[in-house]
């Protein structure tokens, strides 16, 4: 009985992770895909690995380390790009490799065995901690609130920043808030898909959505649903086939995209 409760508990936790993961990735992913910020998000993802490495070394929570690095690099890239001293894609390329290098060096320097490392690289939904799950749930709530309350503003800032400045003096504030939220989504979903795969978790569902709609709000909703279906089926498949979850989830998401592409094909011809 104890064993079955235990099994029930971590399956339930994984299910919650899939739910909150698809909500957060669906919302943040729609924003970065529509605004063409995927490369920037890749930079945030990989530089956050530097935070994971340093956190291991000094013995703090890897997720917290990744969050600090992710947010700092996001703000750094935006700031550098807005001041036009460095081109944005160069700044991203720089932080991308620098974060990975830092991470590798500090993990190497950390004495003893680092059992969780693989789970940060490739994800491990089954071993997700309660604190990570709670953080993911809170982030999902914040995103839902933020995007419902400020939907029009977010849409118009993302679509035409210059015009948005004619009706709002807080365009930069909102841009920075959004990029901070995006980095937190990336970092907290690293537990699910890992540094190597998390970007697909954010980008595949919105691209599935774009096959069905040209409306930003519908794009977000379809992304969340597609993400949930893809992640859940990937999770179940990996469980029965006993293969790595993160990779399986990406596989099922791609499969879902292919199916959607075939289903919607007639519309585009």
């Amino acid at each position: 009985m104890f064993a079955s409760f235990f099994e029930y508990d971590f399956l339930f936790k994984s299910l919650l992770a899939v739910l909150f993961g698809s909500i957060t990735a669906g919302i943040a992913g729609s924003y970065i895909v529509a605004k063409k910020m995927v490369f920037l998000s890749g930079g945030i993802t990989h530089s956050s690995f530097g935070g994971i490495g340093i956190a291991y070394f000094i013995g703090m929570s890897p997720v917290l380390g990744a969050a600090c690095f992710g947010v700092a690099s996001a703000l750094g890239i935006q700031y550098m790009a807005s001041k036009q001293k460095v081109s944005e894609d160069s700044a991203i390329g720089f932080l991308w490799a620098f974060g990975m290098a830092l991470g590798i060096i500090f993990v190497y320097l950390t004495p003893g065995y680092t059992p969780d490392l693989m789970s940060y690289l490739f994800g491990s939904i089954l071993t997700i901690h309660n604190t990570d799950l709670i953080a993911l749930a809170i982030l999902a709530l914040i995103l839902l609130f933020f995007f419902m309350r400020y939907y029009r503003l977010i849409l118009y800032v993302a679509f035409d920043e210059g015009y948005a400045r004619t009706f709002s003096s807080r365009v930069d504030l909102f841009k920075y808030l959004l990029i901070i939220l995006v980095s937190l989504v990336i970092v907290l979903n690293i537990r699910i898909a890992g540094v190597v795969l998390v970007l697909s978790l954010l980008t595949i569902p919105p691209n599935i959505a774009l096959l069905f709609t040209g409306n930003f709000a519908k794009m977000i909703i379809i992304s969340i649903i597609a993400g949930f279906i893809g992640m859940l089926s990937g999770f179940v498949a990996s469980w029965y086939l006993n293969i790595p979850t993160g990779a399986t989830i990406i596989f099922t998401l791609v499969l879902l995209w292919v199916i959607s592409r075939i289903v919607t094909r007639r519309r585009w011809e």
Binding site: K36, L155, A158, F159, G162
Partner: protein, 247 residues
């Protein structure tokens, strides 16, 4: 006629390079001002100063708050910065013209949508309401952005080279629409085509670092020279006309 906006001793610059110097100018209610001047003369900058998008380095912009709340200015930018591949429909783009009235947490009501339908109808692109921007021609896109400027029923309309992308077949009709609008809306329009717009405008503002206001819809080459405003007049009609490159 009362003054809507007064520019007092305005100077503006980018990174220290002066673009506008000592501009003194009043926008009077009911005027239809053609803003002309050479490329790089500061026309766009002038509009942005009026909108509060650029802070002048000297001087001040005084708004007549009784006549003109700040949210009653409609704006058509010279360069549309919106990404035409963004997942947004024409109607939603038009609705963004209401944001200045509705605020940061705006919800669009069915009444707002009716307003959008109305302006889209007026400009003849209602059938494109639900299309993405990448399905539109240059002229249709320009009209959509004009709808965005008009939806909030502005008291003052700032148009930065609206003729640029509008197909020639629509151009005359477009100016006729503006002329009708001008019965209730004050208009300030940047244009290169002095010849064409002189049929419609009531006055000219010649902008070339300095601003010279010319209180008539007729302007001659000599006057332009006197205003230090080196642009060519394009003759229309029977006279063989100079075709200027579109900017």
């Amino acid at each position: 006629m009362s003054t809507l906006i007064e520019l007092k001793n305005i100077s503006a610059s980018y990174n220290g390079d002066p673009v506008l110097e000592n501009v003194n100018f009043s926008i009077r209610e009911g005027d239809f001002i053609g803003v002309i001047g050479p490329n790089g003369g500061g026309k766009t900058t002038l509009l942005k100063v009026i909108l509060g998008l650029i802070k002048p380095t000297a001087g001040e912009v005084v708004y007549n708050r009784e006549k003109l709340k700040k949210n009653r200015i409609g704006y058509l930018p010279q360069i549309a910065e919106g990404d035409i591949n963004f997942p947004v429909s024409v109607k939603d783009v038009v609705l963004s013209g209401l944001m200045i009235i509705k605020g940061h947490s705006a919800r669009m009501s069915s009444e707002d949508r009716k307003k959008a339908d109305y302006v889209l109808q007026e400009l003849g692109i209602h059938h494109l309401s639900n299309k993405s921007l990448n399905k539109l021609s240059g002229g249709e896109l320009q009209r959509a952005y004009l709808c965005r400027a008009l939806i909030g029923s502005p008291k003052l309309l700032l148009l930065d080279e609206p003729g640029n992308f509008v197909d020639t077949s629509f151009e005359q009709g477009f100016y006729e629409i503006l002329k009708d609008l001008n019965e209730t809306v004050t208009i300030m329009m940047v244009s290169h085509d002095v010849g064409t717009i002189s049929t419609y405008v009531k006055s000219f503002a010649c902008v070339n670092r300095k601003l010279h206001y010319h209180d008539s819809g007729r302007i001659t080459t000599e006057q332009l020279k006197a205003y230090d405003c080196p642009i060519q007049l394009i003759a229309h009609g029977d006279v063989p006309h100079t075709v200027l490159k579109r900017h």
